[in-house]
């Protein structure tokens, strides 16, 4: 796992991926920071944090699209799969490398908080809670991205599918609202309500929003972590079943 993690990190920085990702992420964060915090002249970063949420579905697929697709395309996966390492080790090595890149991006919020601290009082607890929230969100989304990447040989397809899937996950609560508002026959109302409740329950945004307000909920943490675990497990299964074909 360690070897794969180090190689992945190296690959990020010897290819344009790391630079493109970090540049776009920092520019986006910078613009949001200016628009939602600096321009108001307040030291409250909560709207800035909720904006960062929306960067993820666009940018996380950039980090994950190549992880298995490229290996499959270049046939380098043959080297990994015939080496004395477990499938779990391979998947986690790649997963944590992407998560590391993501963390490097997210860590920029501390710089912004530091800047703010010269002009006002920064609630460091909330900043830290948001950092953790963003990490947890990334942990779940990256697992999804890596999983999608294991399904296809094409980085482009991996990017598009991950983007769409993450978008759906991001707007789950909006979809739930739409369904609730829809006029349906009386008979189906309970089904619709159940569906809406279910969709709200798996909404990433709702849970994330609680964090941005400084509410630390253990069940939310568990939700993010188990999403990550489930998708990493699925990725292992994909690699395993591919051998049996």
């Amino acid at each position: 796992m360690g070897a794969i993690f180090r190689r992945e990190m190296g690959a990020f920085f010897t290819s344009p991926v790391a630079y493109v990702y970090l540049t776009v992420y920092y520019v986006f964060a910078g613009v949001c920071f200016y628009l939602f915090t600096l321009s108001y002249g307040i030291a409250d970063m909560s709207s800035f944090f909720s904006m960062l949420f929306w960067a993820n579905f666009l940018l996380i697929p950039v980090l994950t699209m190549r992880s298995f697709s490229e290996e499959k395309m270049q046939k380098t996966d043959q080297g990994l799969l015939t080496a004395p390492v477990s499938l779990g080790g391979i998947v986690l090595g790649k997963y944590f490398a992407a998560l590391m890149m993501y963390t490097i991006g997210v860590a920029i919020i501390f710089v912004y908080a530091l800047i703010l601290s010269f002009f006002g009082t920064v609630a460091w607890g909330i900043v830290a809670a948001n950092f953790i929230a963003l990490l947890l969100l990334g942990a779940a989304f990256i697992a999804v991205g890596v999983f999608i990447s294991s399904l296809t040989e094409s980085q482009f397809i991996a990017y598009i599918i991950s983007l769409l899937l993450l978008l759906v996950m991001c707007v789950m609560q909006e979809l739930a609202g739409l369904i609730e508002g829809a006029s349906v026959p009386e008979l189906f109302q309970p089904v619709v309500n159940l569906l809406a409740t279910g969709m709200n329950a798996i909404s990433f945004y709702n849970k994330f929003y609680d964090f941005t307000c400084g509410l630390f909920d253990l069940s939310s943490v568990l939700f993010y972590v188990s999403t990550a675990a489930v998708f990493n497990f699925l990725t292992v299964r994909v690699l395993e079943t591919r051998r049996w074909r």
């Binding site: 360690g2 010897t14 290819s15 380098t76 043959q78 990994l80 015939t82």
Partner: protein, 359 residues
């Protein structure tokens, strides 16, 4: 030691490898011979745990590759058909990665240096793999397989796509490696196998067609006694005359080389020497000999016959015997069907050709 028992692989409905069994003893160099698409790579991929078999078993030093893959893989160095090289890494960076990946315990610097020297990639060790030529990439692939000094090496077509000089270099390297490792080498190039391997397995359409030592193969090859004679004189007359010579089992006219001069392919009984009689015959009829050459059957002939048997029926008939000898009784059973077919094809052709078969 590698033990393969009834290994079978289906890709969907397509049967890629059909019930292959063999063993490779420690220190042996085994050649895997077959045309493209015969199932060589599939077999090797199953041995190395890249894909799993549909049924059957592969034991690497007694460890089932599917039951304890990590332990089994640790004793294999594998060079796949396409070396698994990361294009953006330097050679040294890549080898270091492989070293970590295999959790190698040997001293890093000296071990990697030794491998680089062995594969002659020391002078490119700091270059990016993407910029290397095919020959160098193949050697880096070889180096990758050698990291960790695994007791078993499996090399899938290590010389494919290389120029003749590089082929000789890789071949020498393989020979050198064969002294320290158990080695399986696949190729569709016969001279390569002939040059380095102790034992040969010929595989065709997923089935094992032959499994014998080179020595035995050569023995069965030399037991066939053939020669080519170039003569003038009328074709029919020459054929009848040659057929009358004692010791000749069959004769066949080949191409017309010059105006009225043909090549005749003569198959003789074992130990028969008809050269003097041929000369006398020519003298009697007033013909002249333009060329006389003994035509030993090579591994190439056997290979061609096994892999495209139906394509050249006359040959198939004349060379049937040695090939049956190559196959052990157990394999013979598996091959019975294929042989029956080949015999039928050969029988038909005998009826058609005026020279007829033989033996």
């Amino acid at each position: 030691m590698i033990e393969v028992k009834n290994l079978t692989k289906y890709y969907g409905d397509h049967l890629a490898v059909d019930n292959i069994s063999f063993t490779v003893e420690d220190g042996e160099i085994l050649g895997f011979l077959g045309p493209n698409g015969a199932g060589k790579s599939t077999t090797m991929n199953m041995l190395t745990g890249y894909i799993s078999s549909s049924s059957g078993q592969a034991l690497i030093n007694g460890v089932d590759i599917l039951e304890d893959p990590i332990k089994a893989k640790a004793s294999i160095g594998y060079l796949p058909e396409l070396p698994p090289l990361y294009q953006n890494m330097t050679v040294m960076g890549y080898l270091n990665f492989v070293y970590d990946l295999k959790k190698c315990k040997l001293p890093r610097k000296s071990h990697l240096k030794e491998i680089c020297n062995l594969c002659k990639i020391t002078d490119v060790s700091h270059r990016i793999i993407r910029h290397l030529s095919k020959g160098y990439r193949q050697r880096v692939g070889m180096a990758q397989a050698l990291v960790g000094n695994p007791p078993i090496l499996i090399l899938d077509e290590p010389t494919v796509g290389l120029d003749p000089k590089q082929i000789i270099e890789i071949r020498n390297l393989v020979k050198k490696l064969g002294k320290r490792h158990t080695l399986i080498l696949s190729s569709h190039i016969l001279s390569e196998i002939q040059a380095v391997c102790d034992r040969v397995i010929i595989i065709n359409k997923g089935k094992m067609a032959a499994n014998d030592t080179l020595e035995n193969l050569t023995k069965s090859i030399s037991s066939i006694n053939r020669m080519i004679v170039r003569l003038d004189g009328k074709r029919e007359e020459v054929l009848t005359a040659i057929r009358r010579i004692p010791g000749v089992t069959s004769v066949r006219a080949d191409m017309e080389r010059e105006n009225g001069i043909y090549d005749y392919e003569i198959v003789m009984e074992q130990d028969a020497d008809i050269r003097i009689m041929l000369n006398e015959m020519c003298h009697e009829h007033g013909w002249s000999i333009y060329k006389m050459a003994s035509d030993e059957m090579t591994l190439e002939d056997i290979f061609m016959r096994i892999t495209m048997g139906e394509g050249m029926p006359d040959e198939a008939a004349s060379k049937k015997k040695p090939v049956i000898r190559l196959v052990t009784p157990e394999e013979q059973r598996a091959q019975a069907e294929a042989q029956a077919e080949a015999e039928a094809a050969a029988g038909e052709s005998e009826e058609k050709s005026d020279e007829g078969g033989n033996e």
